[in-house]
Homo-oligomer: 268 residues x 2
Protein backbone atom coordinates (compact mmCIF):
# COMPACT_ATOMS: atom_id res chain seq x y z
CA UNK A 1 0.00 0.00 0.00
CA UNK A 2 3.01 2.27 0.67
CA UNK A 3 3.44 4.92 -2.07
CA UNK A 4 6.36 7.17 -3.00
CA UNK A 5 6.07 10.91 -2.47
CA UNK A 6 8.74 13.52 -3.08
CA UNK A 7 9.67 15.93 -0.27
CA UNK A 8 8.10 18.71 -2.35
CA UNK A 9 4.81 16.81 -2.66
CA UNK A 10 4.69 16.12 1.08
CA UNK A 11 5.52 19.72 1.94
CA UNK A 12 2.81 21.10 -0.38
CA UNK A 13 0.04 18.75 0.85
CA UNK A 14 -2.83 20.11 2.87
CA UNK A 15 -3.54 18.42 6.22
CA UNK A 16 -6.65 16.59 5.02
CA UNK A 17 -4.78 15.02 2.11
CA UNK A 18 -1.85 14.02 4.28
CA UNK A 19 -4.15 12.44 6.86
CA UNK A 20 -5.92 10.51 4.11
CA UNK A 21 -2.68 8.96 2.79
CA UNK A 22 -1.74 8.07 6.37
CA UNK A 23 -5.22 6.59 6.89
CA UNK A 24 -4.92 4.42 3.79
CA UNK A 25 -1.47 3.23 4.81
CA UNK A 26 0.15 4.94 1.85
CA UNK A 27 2.51 6.89 4.12
CA UNK A 28 3.88 5.28 7.30
CA UNK A 29 7.17 7.20 7.62
CA UNK A 30 8.47 10.30 9.40
CA UNK A 31 6.30 13.37 8.85
CA UNK A 32 8.34 16.17 10.40
CA UNK A 33 8.36 18.24 7.22
CA UNK A 34 4.94 17.63 5.68
CA UNK A 35 2.17 20.23 5.17
CA UNK A 36 4.18 23.44 5.21
CA UNK A 37 3.15 25.79 8.00
CA UNK A 38 0.59 23.53 9.69
CA UNK A 39 0.81 22.68 13.37
CA UNK A 40 1.53 19.07 14.20
CA UNK A 41 0.63 17.30 17.40
CA UNK A 42 1.98 14.55 19.58
CA UNK A 43 -0.66 12.04 20.65
CA UNK A 44 -1.25 10.56 24.09
CA UNK A 45 -4.36 8.46 24.74
CA UNK A 46 -5.16 7.29 28.27
CA UNK A 47 -8.13 5.65 30.01
CA UNK A 48 -10.62 8.13 31.53
CA UNK A 49 -9.58 7.01 35.00
CA UNK A 50 -6.15 8.56 34.28
CA UNK A 51 -7.36 11.61 32.37
CA UNK A 52 -7.44 14.10 35.25
CA UNK A 53 -3.97 13.20 36.46
CA UNK A 54 -2.58 13.29 32.94
CA UNK A 55 -4.15 16.66 32.19
CA UNK A 56 -2.75 17.93 35.49
CA UNK A 57 0.66 16.49 34.56
CA UNK A 58 0.50 18.46 31.30
CA UNK A 59 -0.64 21.59 33.12
CA UNK A 60 2.36 21.31 35.46
CA UNK A 61 4.76 20.63 32.58
CA UNK A 62 3.69 23.04 29.85
CA UNK A 63 7.07 23.03 28.11
CA UNK A 64 7.09 19.33 27.06
CA UNK A 65 3.27 18.93 27.19
CA UNK A 66 1.36 21.94 25.84
CA UNK A 67 -2.19 20.61 25.43
CA UNK A 68 -3.99 21.83 22.30
CA UNK A 69 -7.02 19.52 22.28
CA UNK A 70 -8.66 16.88 24.48
CA UNK A 71 -11.39 14.58 23.18
CA UNK A 72 -14.47 13.46 25.06
CA UNK A 73 -14.20 9.85 26.33
CA UNK A 74 -14.58 7.39 23.45
CA UNK A 75 -14.62 10.13 20.80
CA UNK A 76 -11.73 9.80 18.32
CA UNK A 77 -12.37 13.19 16.65
CA UNK A 78 -10.34 16.21 17.86
CA UNK A 79 -13.03 18.89 17.68
CA UNK A 80 -10.80 21.93 18.08
CA UNK A 81 -7.83 20.98 15.94
CA UNK A 82 -9.31 18.88 13.10
CA UNK A 83 -12.97 17.87 13.61
CA UNK A 84 -13.05 15.65 10.50
CA UNK A 85 -9.97 13.65 11.44
CA UNK A 86 -9.94 10.25 13.13
CA UNK A 87 -7.15 9.84 15.67
CA UNK A 88 -7.32 6.03 15.39
CA UNK A 89 -6.19 5.97 11.77
CA UNK A 90 -4.82 9.34 10.63
CA UNK A 91 -1.29 9.20 12.03
CA UNK A 92 1.45 7.38 10.11
CA UNK A 93 2.45 5.17 13.04
CA UNK A 94 1.44 4.45 16.66
CA UNK A 95 2.80 2.79 19.77
CA UNK A 96 0.90 0.80 22.38
CA UNK A 97 2.15 0.75 25.98
CA UNK A 98 0.93 -1.71 28.59
CA UNK A 99 2.06 -1.76 32.24
CA UNK A 100 5.08 0.33 31.35
CA UNK A 101 6.14 -1.74 28.35
CA UNK A 102 5.98 -1.07 24.63
CA UNK A 103 3.89 -3.98 23.34
CA UNK A 104 3.02 -3.00 19.78
CA UNK A 105 3.83 -0.56 17.00
CA UNK A 106 1.33 -0.25 14.15
CA UNK A 107 -0.25 2.11 11.63
CA UNK A 108 -3.90 1.88 12.75
CA UNK A 109 -5.12 1.51 16.34
CA UNK A 110 -8.80 0.82 15.68
CA UNK A 111 -8.51 -2.63 17.24
CA UNK A 112 -7.18 -1.13 20.49
CA UNK A 113 -9.87 1.58 20.71
CA UNK A 114 -12.18 1.61 23.75
CA UNK A 115 -15.12 3.72 24.88
CA UNK A 116 -13.27 4.99 27.94
CA UNK A 117 -10.25 6.42 26.11
CA UNK A 118 -9.45 10.14 26.21
CA UNK A 119 -7.07 11.50 23.57
CA UNK A 120 -4.71 14.40 24.23
CA UNK A 121 -3.10 16.35 21.42
CA UNK A 122 0.12 18.01 22.50
CA UNK A 123 1.76 20.67 20.34
CA UNK A 124 4.92 19.69 18.49
CA UNK A 125 8.06 21.74 17.89
CA UNK A 126 8.14 20.60 14.25
CA UNK A 127 5.50 23.34 13.95
CA UNK A 128 7.77 26.20 14.93
CA UNK A 129 10.45 25.02 12.49
CA UNK A 130 8.32 26.69 9.81
CA UNK A 131 8.40 29.95 11.76
CA UNK A 132 12.19 29.66 12.20
CA UNK A 133 12.61 29.07 8.45
CA UNK A 134 10.31 32.00 7.67
CA UNK A 135 12.72 34.20 9.65
CA UNK A 136 15.75 32.66 7.90
CA UNK A 137 17.11 31.18 11.14
CA UNK A 138 19.73 28.59 10.13
CA UNK A 139 19.29 25.38 12.12
CA UNK A 140 19.45 21.61 11.93
CA UNK A 141 17.04 19.45 13.94
CA UNK A 142 19.13 16.65 15.48
CA UNK A 143 16.58 14.61 17.41
CA UNK A 144 15.27 14.05 20.94
CA UNK A 145 16.68 12.62 24.18
CA UNK A 146 15.60 11.69 27.67
CA UNK A 147 17.17 14.45 29.78
CA UNK A 148 18.20 14.66 33.42
CA UNK A 149 15.40 17.22 34.01
CA UNK A 150 12.61 15.63 36.04
CA UNK A 151 9.04 16.61 35.21
CA UNK A 152 6.83 17.95 38.00
CA UNK A 153 4.85 14.82 38.98
CA UNK A 154 1.03 14.65 39.08
CA UNK A 155 -0.76 11.71 40.65
CA UNK A 156 0.63 8.51 39.12
CA UNK A 157 2.58 10.35 36.40
CA UNK A 158 6.28 11.03 36.85
CA UNK A 159 9.46 10.76 34.82
CA UNK A 160 12.19 12.59 32.92
CA UNK A 161 11.55 15.36 30.42
CA UNK A 162 12.34 14.41 26.84
CA UNK A 163 13.94 17.34 25.01
CA UNK A 164 14.67 18.00 21.35
CA UNK A 165 17.82 19.63 20.02
CA UNK A 166 18.38 22.03 17.16
CA UNK A 167 21.85 23.29 16.38
CA UNK A 168 21.70 26.90 15.18
CA UNK A 169 24.35 28.65 13.15
CA UNK A 170 25.42 31.38 15.55
CA UNK A 171 24.53 33.63 18.45
CA UNK A 172 22.30 35.88 16.38
CA UNK A 173 20.23 32.92 15.24
CA UNK A 174 20.13 31.66 18.83
CA UNK A 175 18.56 34.95 19.93
CA UNK A 176 16.01 34.82 17.11
CA UNK A 177 15.21 31.18 17.91
CA UNK A 178 14.47 32.14 21.54
CA UNK A 179 12.26 35.05 20.46
CA UNK A 180 10.34 33.15 17.81
CA UNK A 181 9.74 29.99 19.83
CA UNK A 182 8.70 32.05 22.89
CA UNK A 183 5.73 33.33 20.88
CA UNK A 184 4.66 29.75 20.17
CA UNK A 185 3.88 28.46 23.65
CA UNK A 186 1.41 25.86 22.36
CA UNK A 187 4.17 24.11 20.42
CA UNK A 188 6.62 23.98 23.38
CA UNK A 189 7.47 27.69 23.61
CA UNK A 190 10.93 28.89 24.67
CA UNK A 191 13.95 26.59 25.04
CA UNK A 192 14.68 24.82 28.31
CA UNK A 193 18.45 24.99 27.78
CA UNK A 194 21.11 26.53 25.54
CA UNK A 195 24.68 25.27 25.23
CA UNK A 196 26.50 22.33 26.79
CA UNK A 197 24.46 19.12 26.27
CA UNK A 198 26.11 17.44 29.29
CA UNK A 199 24.37 19.85 31.68
CA UNK A 200 20.98 18.42 30.72
CA UNK A 201 22.28 14.85 30.76
CA UNK A 202 22.98 14.29 27.07
CA UNK A 203 26.14 12.24 26.49
CA UNK A 204 26.17 11.93 22.71
CA UNK A 205 24.43 14.80 20.96
CA UNK A 206 24.72 13.29 17.50
CA UNK A 207 23.26 9.91 18.39
CA UNK A 208 19.85 10.87 19.78
CA UNK A 209 17.54 8.29 21.32
CA UNK A 210 14.81 9.59 18.97
CA UNK A 211 16.54 10.69 15.76
CA UNK A 212 14.92 13.20 13.41
CA UNK A 213 16.58 11.57 10.41
CA UNK A 214 18.85 8.61 9.75
CA UNK A 215 22.07 10.63 10.04
CA UNK A 216 23.13 14.12 11.05
CA UNK A 217 26.67 15.38 10.77
CA UNK A 218 28.22 16.81 13.97
CA UNK A 219 28.70 20.55 14.03
CA UNK A 220 32.16 21.88 13.27
CA UNK A 221 32.06 25.62 13.79
CA UNK A 222 32.62 27.10 17.26
CA UNK A 223 29.89 29.62 16.45
CA UNK A 224 27.23 26.87 16.27
CA UNK A 225 25.05 26.49 19.36
CA UNK A 226 22.86 23.57 20.49
CA UNK A 227 19.45 24.67 21.78
CA UNK A 228 17.03 22.37 23.62
CA UNK A 229 13.24 22.45 23.81
CA UNK A 230 10.67 20.36 25.70
CA UNK A 231 9.47 17.48 23.51
CA UNK A 232 6.08 15.79 23.18
CA UNK A 233 7.66 12.34 23.37
CA UNK A 234 7.78 13.01 27.14
CA UNK A 235 4.43 11.24 27.80
CA UNK A 236 5.86 8.03 26.34
CA UNK A 237 8.84 8.10 28.71
CA UNK A 238 6.44 8.89 31.52
CA UNK A 239 4.16 5.96 30.56
CA UNK A 240 7.17 3.65 30.82
CA UNK A 241 8.43 5.13 34.07
CA UNK A 242 4.99 5.26 35.69
CA UNK A 243 4.08 1.72 34.53
CA UNK A 244 0.78 2.95 33.17
CA UNK A 245 -1.64 0.04 32.54
CA UNK A 246 -2.52 1.29 29.04
CA UNK A 247 -1.57 4.13 26.75
CA UNK A 248 -1.63 4.75 22.99
CA UNK A 249 0.80 7.29 21.52
CA UNK A 250 2.18 8.29 18.14
CA UNK A 251 5.56 6.83 17.24
CA UNK A 252 8.26 9.48 17.67
CA UNK A 253 8.53 11.66 14.53
CA UNK A 254 5.17 10.32 13.23
CA UNK A 255 2.90 13.11 14.44
CA UNK A 256 -0.70 14.08 13.79
CA UNK A 257 -1.18 16.99 11.37
CA UNK A 258 -3.86 19.47 12.49
CA UNK A 259 -5.98 21.86 10.41
CA UNK A 260 -4.48 24.87 12.20
CA UNK A 261 -1.43 26.82 11.07
CA UNK A 262 1.39 26.97 13.58
CA UNK A 263 1.16 30.75 13.56
CA UNK A 264 -2.56 30.54 14.45
CA UNK A 265 -1.42 29.09 17.79
CA UNK A 266 1.02 31.95 18.47
CA UNK A 267 0.21 34.13 21.46
CA UNK A 268 1.75 37.31 20.14
CA UNK B 1 -11.34 41.44 65.04
CA UNK B 2 -11.29 43.76 62.00
CA UNK B 3 -8.36 46.18 62.07
CA UNK B 4 -7.65 49.38 60.16
CA UNK B 5 -4.80 49.46 57.65
CA UNK B 6 -3.82 52.34 55.39
CA UNK B 7 -3.54 51.76 51.64
CA UNK B 8 0.22 52.27 52.01
CA UNK B 9 0.46 49.59 54.71
CA UNK B 10 -1.52 47.10 52.61
CA UNK B 11 0.52 47.82 49.51
CA UNK B 12 3.84 47.36 51.35
CA UNK B 13 2.86 44.07 53.04
CA UNK B 14 4.50 40.85 52.00
CA UNK B 15 2.18 37.97 51.04
CA UNK B 16 2.75 35.99 54.22
CA UNK B 17 1.81 38.95 56.40
CA UNK B 18 -1.27 39.74 54.33
CA UNK B 19 -2.43 36.11 54.47
CA UNK B 20 -1.96 36.09 58.22
CA UNK B 21 -4.19 39.14 58.77
CA UNK B 22 -6.79 37.55 56.49
CA UNK B 23 -6.47 34.27 58.43
CA UNK B 24 -7.04 36.03 61.75
CA UNK B 25 -10.06 37.90 60.38
CA UNK B 26 -8.30 41.25 60.72
CA UNK B 27 -8.86 42.03 57.05
CA UNK B 28 -12.04 40.88 55.27
CA UNK B 29 -12.30 43.56 52.57
CA UNK B 30 -11.22 44.02 48.94
CA UNK B 31 -7.57 43.18 48.33
CA UNK B 32 -7.01 44.29 44.74
CA UNK B 33 -4.12 46.57 45.65
CA UNK B 34 -2.33 44.75 48.45
CA UNK B 35 1.25 43.36 48.35
CA UNK B 36 2.75 45.44 45.55
CA UNK B 37 3.94 43.33 42.62
CA UNK B 38 2.74 39.95 43.89
CA UNK B 39 0.49 37.74 41.80
CA UNK B 40 -3.01 37.19 43.14
CA UNK B 41 -5.23 34.25 42.39
CA UNK B 42 -8.91 33.52 42.02
CA UNK B 43 -10.01 30.39 43.88
CA UNK B 44 -12.27 27.59 42.67
CA UNK B 45 -12.66 24.44 44.75
CA UNK B 46 -14.62 21.47 43.37
CA UNK B 47 -15.15 17.83 44.39
CA UNK B 48 -12.64 15.40 42.83
CA UNK B 49 -15.42 13.90 40.71
CA UNK B 50 -15.57 17.26 38.89
CA UNK B 51 -11.85 17.99 38.84
CA UNK B 52 -11.04 16.60 35.38
CA UNK B 53 -13.91 18.41 33.71
CA UNK B 54 -13.10 21.63 35.51
CA UNK B 55 -9.40 21.44 34.59
CA UNK B 56 -10.45 20.74 31.00
CA UNK B 57 -12.83 23.72 31.15
CA UNK B 58 -9.89 25.89 32.24
CA UNK B 59 -7.64 24.42 29.55
CA UNK B 60 -10.25 25.29 26.91
CA UNK B 61 -10.79 28.80 28.33
CA UNK B 62 -7.29 30.03 29.16
CA UNK B 63 -8.24 33.69 29.00
CA UNK B 64 -10.70 33.74 31.95
CA UNK B 65 -9.22 30.62 33.64
CA UNK B 66 -5.40 30.47 33.51
CA UNK B 67 -4.55 27.74 36.04
CA UNK B 68 -1.47 28.45 38.15
CA UNK B 69 -1.79 25.72 40.79
CA UNK B 70 -3.93 22.66 41.55
CA UNK B 71 -3.88 20.96 44.94
CA UNK B 72 -4.02 17.23 45.59
CA UNK B 73 -7.46 16.06 46.78
CA UNK B 74 -8.02 17.10 50.40
CA UNK B 75 -4.81 19.12 50.57
CA UNK B 76 -5.46 22.83 51.31
CA UNK B 77 -1.84 23.91 50.65
CA UNK B 78 -0.97 25.26 47.17
CA UNK B 79 2.50 23.73 46.74
CA UNK B 80 3.61 25.71 43.71
CA UNK B 81 2.31 29.17 44.56
CA UNK B 82 2.53 29.38 48.37
CA UNK B 83 3.33 26.09 50.11
CA UNK B 84 2.90 27.53 53.63
CA UNK B 85 -0.53 29.01 52.95
CA UNK B 86 -3.87 27.45 53.84
CA UNK B 87 -6.57 27.99 51.24
CA UNK B 88 -9.34 27.40 53.82
CA UNK B 89 -8.45 30.45 55.87
CA UNK B 90 -6.04 32.77 54.06
CA UNK B 91 -8.42 34.66 51.75
CA UNK B 92 -10.39 37.65 53.07
CA UNK B 93 -13.76 36.26 52.01
CA UNK B 94 -15.30 33.16 50.39
CA UNK B 95 -18.50 32.05 48.73
CA UNK B 96 -20.20 28.66 48.89
CA UNK B 97 -22.30 27.45 45.96
CA UNK B 98 -24.67 24.48 46.16
CA UNK B 99 -26.71 23.14 43.23
CA UNK B 100 -26.20 26.39 41.35
CA UNK B 101 -27.11 28.67 44.23
CA UNK B 102 -25.03 30.93 46.44
CA UNK B 103 -25.74 29.59 49.94
CA UNK B 104 -23.12 31.25 52.13
CA UNK B 105 -20.49 33.98 52.22
CA UNK B 106 -17.89 33.83 54.97
CA UNK B 107 -14.27 34.51 55.91
CA UNK B 108 -13.14 30.95 56.77
CA UNK B 109 -14.29 27.77 55.02
CA UNK B 110 -12.79 25.18 57.37
CA UNK B 111 -16.24 23.89 58.28
CA UNK B 112 -17.03 23.21 54.61
CA UNK B 113 -13.72 21.44 53.90
CA UNK B 114 -13.81 17.80 52.74
CA UNK B 115 -11.20 15.18 51.86
CA UNK B 116 -12.35 14.99 48.24
CA UNK B 117 -11.95 18.69 47.42
CA UNK B 118 -9.49 19.88 44.79
CA UNK B 119 -8.52 23.55 44.80
CA UNK B 120 -7.67 25.46 41.64
CA UNK B 121 -5.80 28.74 41.72
CA UNK B 122 -6.51 30.88 38.68
CA UNK B 123 -4.37 33.90 37.87
CA UNK B 124 -5.92 37.32 38.46
CA UNK B 125 -5.58 40.45 36.37
CA UNK B 126 -5.04 42.54 39.50
CA UNK B 127 -1.51 41.13 39.11
CA UNK B 128 -0.78 42.79 35.80
CA UNK B 129 -2.00 46.14 37.10
CA UNK B 130 1.41 46.40 38.78
CA UNK B 131 3.11 45.82 35.41
CA UNK B 132 0.88 48.44 33.77
CA UNK B 133 1.73 50.93 36.52
CA UNK B 134 5.44 50.13 36.21
CA UNK B 135 5.18 51.18 32.54
CA UNK B 136 3.23 54.33 33.45
CA UNK B 137 0.10 53.17 31.60
CA UNK B 138 -2.77 55.39 32.80
CA UNK B 139 -5.84 53.28 33.57
CA UNK B 140 -8.79 52.89 35.90
CA UNK B 141 -10.11 49.45 36.83
CA UNK B 142 -13.91 49.67 36.63
CA UNK B 143 -15.03 46.16 37.58
CA UNK B 144 -16.27 42.92 36.04
CA UNK B 145 -19.39 41.81 34.13
CA UNK B 146 -20.98 38.68 32.73
CA UNK B 147 -20.47 39.09 28.98
CA UNK B 148 -22.28 37.71 25.95
CA UNK B 149 -19.17 35.62 25.12
CA UNK B 150 -19.87 31.95 25.82
CA UNK B 151 -17.05 29.84 27.25
CA UNK B 152 -16.07 26.66 25.42
CA UNK B 153 -17.94 24.00 27.45
CA UNK B 154 -16.27 20.96 29.02
CA UNK B 155 -18.34 18.12 30.45
CA UNK B 156 -20.86 19.59 32.89
CA UNK B 157 -19.26 23.06 32.85
CA UNK B 158 -20.71 25.78 30.63
CA UNK B 159 -21.66 29.44 30.89
CA UNK B 160 -20.77 33.00 29.97
CA UNK B 161 -17.31 34.49 30.27
CA UNK B 162 -16.96 37.12 32.97
CA UNK B 163 -14.73 39.97 31.80
CA UNK B 164 -13.09 42.86 33.60
CA UNK B 165 -12.79 46.39 32.25
CA UNK B 166 -10.06 48.96 32.52
CA UNK B 167 -10.44 52.34 30.88
CA UNK B 168 -7.08 53.57 29.56
CA UNK B 169 -6.18 57.14 28.83
CA UNK B 170 -5.57 56.99 25.09
CA UNK B 171 -4.55 54.92 22.08
CA UNK B 172 -0.89 54.82 23.05
CA UNK B 173 -1.73 53.40 26.47
CA UNK B 174 -4.10 50.92 24.82
CA UNK B 175 -1.23 49.60 22.69
CA UNK B 176 1.04 49.32 25.73
CA UNK B 177 -1.73 47.58 27.72
CA UNK B 178 -2.09 44.97 24.97
CA UNK B 179 1.68 44.40 24.81
CA UNK B 180 2.20 44.20 28.56
CA UNK B 181 -0.77 41.95 29.33
CA UNK B 182 0.09 39.64 26.41
CA UNK B 183 3.33 38.77 28.21
CA UNK B 184 1.35 37.78 31.30
CA UNK B 185 -0.67 34.83 30.03
CA UNK B 186 -0.97 33.28 33.49
CA UNK B 187 -2.88 36.30 34.76
CA UNK B 188 -5.35 36.38 31.82
CA UNK B 189 -3.00 37.52 29.07
CA UNK B 190 -4.16 39.76 26.21
CA UNK B 191 -7.56 41.51 26.15
CA UNK B 192 -10.62 39.78 24.69
CA UNK B 193 -12.10 43.06 23.43
CA UNK B 194 -11.28 46.74 22.94
CA UNK B 195 -13.86 49.49 22.49
CA UNK B 196 -17.66 49.47 22.47
CA UNK B 197 -18.95 47.65 25.61
CA UNK B 198 -22.28 46.83 23.89
CA UNK B 199 -20.52 44.43 21.50
CA UNK B 200 -19.61 42.13 24.41
CA UNK B 201 -23.04 42.53 26.00
CA UNK B 202 -22.31 45.22 28.59
CA UNK B 203 -25.18 47.69 28.96
CA UNK B 204 -23.92 49.94 31.71
CA UNK B 205 -20.13 50.14 31.87
CA UNK B 206 -20.05 52.23 35.04
CA UNK B 207 -22.33 49.97 37.06
CA UNK B 208 -20.49 46.65 36.91
CA UNK B 209 -21.98 43.48 38.38
CA UNK B 210 -18.70 43.01 40.29
CA UNK B 211 -17.39 46.50 41.12
CA UNK B 212 -13.70 47.08 41.86
CA UNK B 213 -14.57 49.94 44.22
CA UNK B 214 -17.69 51.61 45.55
CA UNK B 215 -17.82 54.25 42.81
CA UNK B 216 -16.02 55.06 39.59
CA UNK B 217 -16.65 58.18 37.57
CA UNK B 218 -17.60 57.67 33.91
CA UNK B 219 -14.95 58.66 31.40
CA UNK B 220 -15.31 62.02 29.70
CA UNK B 221 -12.54 62.25 27.13
CA UNK B 222 -13.08 60.82 23.63
CA UNK B 223 -9.46 59.62 23.75
CA UNK B 224 -10.24 57.19 26.61
CA UNK B 225 -10.71 53.55 25.61
CA UNK B 226 -12.38 50.67 27.50
CA UNK B 227 -10.39 47.43 27.33
CA UNK B 228 -11.74 44.06 28.44
CA UNK B 229 -9.95 41.00 29.78
CA UNK B 230 -11.08 37.51 30.80
CA UNK B 231 -11.85 37.42 34.54
CA UNK B 232 -11.39 34.72 37.16
CA UNK B 233 -14.91 35.25 38.47
CA UNK B 234 -15.98 33.16 35.46
CA UNK B 235 -16.00 29.86 37.43
CA UNK B 236 -18.58 31.34 39.80
CA UNK B 237 -20.94 32.21 36.93
CA UNK B 238 -20.30 28.78 35.51
CA UNK B 239 -21.08 27.10 38.86
CA UNK B 240 -24.44 28.89 38.86
CA UNK B 241 -25.20 28.15 35.23
CA UNK B 242 -24.10 24.50 35.43
CA UNK B 243 -25.94 23.91 38.73
CA UNK B 244 -22.85 22.39 40.26
CA UNK B 245 -23.67 20.40 43.43
CA UNK B 246 -20.86 22.05 45.42
CA UNK B 247 -18.18 24.66 44.89
CA UNK B 248 -16.16 26.99 47.10
CA UNK B 249 -14.76 30.20 45.58
CA UNK B 250 -13.28 33.48 46.73
CA UNK B 251 -15.68 36.41 46.87
CA UNK B 252 -15.09 38.70 43.87
CA UNK B 253 -12.26 41.17 44.59
CA UNK B 254 -11.17 39.13 47.64
CA UNK B 255 -8.39 37.11 46.06
CA UNK B 256 -5.63 34.85 47.35
CA UNK B 257 -2.16 36.44 47.43
CA UNK B 258 0.61 34.10 46.24
CA UNK B 259 4.33 34.11 47.05
CA UNK B 260 5.22 34.70 43.41
CA UNK B 261 5.72 38.07 41.76
CA UNK B 262 3.45 38.77 38.81
CA UNK B 263 6.52 39.24 36.61
CA UNK B 264 7.77 35.77 37.64
CA UNK B 265 4.75 34.39 35.78
CA UNK B 266 5.51 36.35 32.59
CA UNK B 267 6.41 34.26 29.56
CA UNK B 268 8.64 36.79 27.89
Amino acid sequence: MERKFSNEELEAMDPEDFRSIARRGEWTGFDLNVCRGYAQANLAIVPKDYAFEFLLFCQRNPSPCPVIDVTDPGDPHPKLMAPDADLRTDLPRYRIYQNGELIDELTDVTKYWRDDLVAFLIGCSASFDWSLRAANVQFRLIGAYASNIQCVPAGRFHGPMVISCRVVKNGHDAVRAVQISSRLLKVHGPPVHIGDPAIVGIKDLYHPEFPASSYVAPHREPSEIPIFWGCGVTPQKVALESKLPFMITHSPSHMFVTDRLGEELAFI
